[in-house]
């Protein structure tokens, strides 16, 4: 009996611990403003790469295109890549390589997510197409730090995002 009780107590504790913080977090997140995404520049498209927190947070997920690093993507982070319309192929690599091809359309925003799937020795990054709803569901996402972004153009730095979101000055009225 003592053994049964001792088994039940941690079970109940674990269940309450698993639900209570989630409820508290939900309340906090409801209050938090949703992430504002700027529209892509005219004639360009953009992809929002994000990585929800969870398993394999220690495994890297660095997004590359044509062998050049676009940006690292840590757990709970996101970045916006502005690019030309057309077909683009991205890769992530650690123990194994994964690739994702996307069709970027002008003036549209697409979404892709990185998850760490189970591997034999270490987790493997998996890059997959996603939806805006999935991006919005992933709570507490933060923009990747500038120093973790690739050297080339593509991933918007924090200042670029702020500038793109800033209200544009109204055109001067005609005399």
């Amino acid at each position: 009996m003592a053994l049964k009780l001792s088994a039940l107590i941690p079970l109940a504790l674990a269940a309450s611990l698993a639900t209570m913080p989630a409820q508290a977090a939900d309340k906090k997140d409801d209050d938090a403003a949703p992430i504002a995404l700027p529209a892509p520049p005219a004639g360009k498209g953009q992809i929002v790469f994000f990585r929800p927190g969870g398993m394999g947070f220690a495994v890297g997920c660095s997004v590359n295109e044509n062998g050049q690093k676009v940006s690292s993507l840590g757990a709970g982070k996101y970045f916006i890549m502005v690019t030309d319309p057309g077909k683009h192929e991205f890769t992530v690599k650690s123990e194994a390589k994964d690739a994702l091809a996307l069709e970027v359309e002008a003036d549209e925003t697409q979404f892709a997510k990185c998850r760490i799937k189970m591997g034999i020795m270490v987790g493997r990054p998996d890059l997959a197409p996603a939806t805006e709803a999935e991006f919005r569901e992933a709570k507490k996402l933060k923009l990747v730090d500038d120093e973790d972004m690739g050297p080339g153009p593509g991933a918007l730095r924090a200042a670029d995002v702020a500038a793109a979101l800033a209200p544009k000055p109204a055109p001067a009225p005609a005399p």
Partner: protein
Amino acid sequence: MKIFLSRTLGVVSAWWLTGVAAAAQTVSTVPLEPVPPVAAQPGEACPAQSDCIAALTPVVLKIGTLLGSRVSTSGEMFPLTLAEPLVVDGRVVVPAGTPGMGEVVHAKKTGLGVGGELVLAARYLDFAGQRIRLRSMQVGGKGKDNQTLSYAVGATVGLPALFIRGKHIEVPPGTLAEAKVAARFVIPRPAQETPAPQAAPTPSTSEGKTDGP
């Protein structure tokens, strides 16, 4: 020792249970969002005796073959048809059934706990010897993941986790998809539809008559 073991078992079971619940909630297919109608662009006059389909005009397409993360390969072209006619000023300018082609941009089979992936793009419609370029196709997405379940079984049982795979995504033939016309397309009106010029009245024989001198 027994108490330690039972506590560990309890915590792991609770984590496993929450993991299964989370896996069951994961739904990730791209929804079809309604495409708003597009007004004709100002400053782009349609040539005379022609019909113009504005860029970004929404079109409804029907997929012509079975596509899926298991059966399709990246780069493969697939047939499609126009499911609803394109109408300009109440006149059908491109009929339903007009054939076209799309491309499988990305296809990936399921992995350990992760669902299959499928990205499709509409390329063009073949109409009257010309191609109407298409863009922004809304179909496809990602199969359901079993990642959390795979992790949980891996942590508690071990090897059987290697047999837990995500779900494939499948697009059966006849599936409807939305896309947009990529650029303005001008269709000359058929000759019989153009109104004939007003014919000059032929003089009647009586009118031609003149009185004698």
